[in-house]
Assembly symmetry: C2
Homo-oligomer: 445 residues x 2
């Protein structure tokens, strides 16, 4: 029994809502899907008699309050920046809140009040952050129980494309997630711990400071650092750790090509470019390149500017994306980042027949009985189709399962939380495993 309100019917909601609808008859749930767009919500709900649409606009305080008042649990897929606002309403109305966004400082301030009112505000419960926390904590708790002491933890996750998808695409990448966030990723300085020393990586170095990753049976990847890895040292209880690094995973060769955009300034989202309506793909790139007498082609100018092989992997990827072509951009204005996103979308938009691939990889070094040991764990999840993508499954199912645990009384944790307690991670990982989403662990000699 209970009413579950899902806020946001966008592309990450498909598996979440499907899970709720599948389980609604057994648990007698009412599923309410709130979105600005009725058609998006109706597509998710289909003909289910257990679900209904509600028009939801967080900026309409009165209607939002009413919608939240009628729910027992709120699952929000709204943009991260809106979560403090949703949190406030849930606090006022006395409702649980689950979401997959990074916990904000404002959200943290709700902890005491949520606890006092017997509410769970569970954050970072999707893929990354989410499954990464849960799977890491499961391993950490086991190693500690065995008497081991963890010295190093590195973790990378990426939303990629399946090997059979778009085999000509040399990037091995398409937009399986918010394209804007992909284009502007990494612009705040990353911070991590290496051999006991605090390290900072500015944007201009980020795509050159890579960790090589191999997942047996799948291939070679590379990871770049993401935000502040240090905040998870205390969250994970790893106070004696010497190396702690979290980041994003891409196929081998992606980062050195993406670095071309970073170095040229193509990912800048802070100013509007001039004369965009007259721009072609190649003239967009030329805006960031110095002219040289007797050098005519963009390819040559680019090779000179960034010391690239004119026929190397970076140039091949740029050429495949049409960036050396005279094709009109097709926008009337925009920042460099908006224009780059628009150009890349022409080839990187996920098509109906495409399958995405989520890859997660952890590496631990730990001291046990006087020897240093290594353990690696990896998860590979493939999308079923363009709706039930690997991204939708791995982001949505942890939230859906957590909601089920909460509503059926199996989750007693309260306050503002992230999913690091066995009470959450054990049942969630177990049910994910039954759906084929599982980290494979191996000891490395």
């Amino acid at each position: 029994m209970g009413t579950i309100l899902v806020l946001g019917a966008g592309r990450s909601s498909a598996s979440l809502i499907q899970y709720l609808l599948d389980n609604a008859p057994e648990y007698k749930w009412n599923v309410v899907v709130g979105d600005l767009s009725e058609s998006a919500a109706r597509e998710r709900i289909g003909g289910s008699p257990f679900a209904r649409f509600v028009s939801f606009d967080i900026n309409n305080a009165e209607e939002s309050s009413k919608t939240i008042r009628d729910a027992d649990v709120v699952i929000s897929l709204l943009p991260a920046i809106l979560h403090p606002q949703v949190g406030k309403l849930c606090l006022t109305m006395g409702k649980h809140l689950l979401n997959a966004s990074y916990i904000s400082d404002e959200m943290k301030t709700f902890h005491d009040e949520a606890q006092r009112r017997g509410l769970l505000f569970l954050n970072e419960c999707g893929l990354d952050p989410g499954i990464d926390h849960m799977s890491a904590m499961q391993i950490i708790d086991r190693i500690k129980k065995e008497g081991g002491s963890i010295r190093s933890f590195e973790s990378f996750t990426g939303g990629l494309i399946a090997p059979e998808t778009d085999p000509q695409n040399p990037w091995r990448y398409k937009f399986t997630w918010n394209p804007r966030n992909v284009v502007t990723a990494g612009q705040t300085t990353a911070k991590y711990l290496q051999n006991g020393q605090l390290k900072y990586i500015p944007y201009q170095q980020l795509f050159q400071r890579l960790t090589p990753v191999e997942v047996s049976g799948y291939g070679r990847y590379e990871g770049y650092a993401n935000r502040d890895s240090l905040r998870y040292i205390s969250t994970y209880g790893l106070n004696n750790i010497k190396t702690m690094l979290r980041g994003t995973l891409r196929n081998e060769g992606f980062c050195s090509a993406w670095n071309v955009f970073v170095q040229l300034g193509c990912c800048d989202d802070t100013y509007q470019m001039d004369d965009v309506s007259k721009m072609t793909h190649s003239s967009f790139i030329e805006c960031f390149l110095q002219d040289h007498a007797a050098v005519r082609s963009v390819r040559e100018k680019l090779a000179i500017a960034l010391h690239l092989n004119p026929n190397g992997g970076e140039m091949k990827k740029l050429a495949w994306s049409g960036l050396l072509d005279d094709e009109p951009v097709g926008l009337q204005g925009g920042t460099p980042a908006q224009i780059l996103e628009h150009i890349l979308s022409k080839k990187w938009k996920l098509q109906e027949q495409d399958r995405d691939l989520v890859v997660m990889w952890h590496r631990f070094y730990y001291q046990l009985n006087g020897t240093l040991r290594q353990i690696q764990a990896s998860l590979v999840a493939k999308g079923e189709n363009a709706t039930f993508t690997a991204m939708a499954k791995t982001v949505g199912l942890p939230l859906a399962i957590a909601a089920k645990l909460l509503i059926t009384g199996q989750l007693t944790l309260r306050g503002v939380q992230v999913p690091i307690a066995p009470e959450i991670y054990a049942p969630v990982l177990s049910e994910l495993k039954s759906k084929g989403i599982e980290l494979i662990q191996r000891d490395v000699e």
Copy 2:
């Protein structure tokens, strides 16, 4: 007859105030120096009977109004960001305003009202912007009068040190101007015109996209682009121009070494670093470098990270600045930019015996009678001592001379202006020349 109010008695005010005091007896001026610091103002005023100090705090609206009401002309050396506020007060009180800052959008909105009230708000009337505008316009007007058509204009200015100052200093540079601005220079994307195409240079490319400059009798320099060069195309009336680039001048070799700081992220002013109290110069640099097994020295790590010659010019400059040493930084906290400024100041602070050097260089290409011609113009000004620096002279004297022209009725221009009209530039440049501050022009074959 008249009262001239000088706001700000900092290091750029020495020559300005001296000029006003020198001329006060002849013109019967009262010179009022307003500053937060009485001692700074008293140092400038000395024992002159024509000058007095007034305590001035722009945030104290009542007192500021009163001080400005008593003046005829206000010369402001306050930080650029305060000039709209000063402008508003001058507008209300009906006073002329002269300053050396880049004209802001808000300042521009005062134009009609200033004109209506018969006031001159003259901006960008220092060195750069200032003498660069005036000297360029003198050449532009002459070429146009001869029937020439200007195709290209490049202009670079820098505040450097004299050849005999600190001969061991491989940077050939010290802080002769606001150190904070030096450390954070260039962080907004530069924009210029090259061969008819709009070009953008992001920060990470800025110190690699250099224009070589030679000033005969002085040596070799290099220029990097500065802000938006395009805004001066219409200001200068150069509507058919194909190349337009303004920038900052440094001694040859400076930029590739400074680029090390840029690439590492040492000039970032957006976040506070951790554990600053325990930092040494070299551990500050190590924060931005990846650890490698078996590589121990900062020098080696740095060489690997940025593909530098371990004994090359960049490394020599960094080593001279003490950045590879274990010396404690000596700060309790700070952003990377603040820490870098603090470390560099230990060697780059201008000493009593040091002489600074201002170098300005213009290059024009123009079409005349069917042939493309080139003209170069350069100015070199040397400081007299640590007070009457070249910077203080070249920033302050144009303002002082403009004030004299205005107060003696020789300047009839009104409204919000920059110094591009012959009425201003001819007498200012002429008087500067009499003081040894002059651009030498030469036709280049």
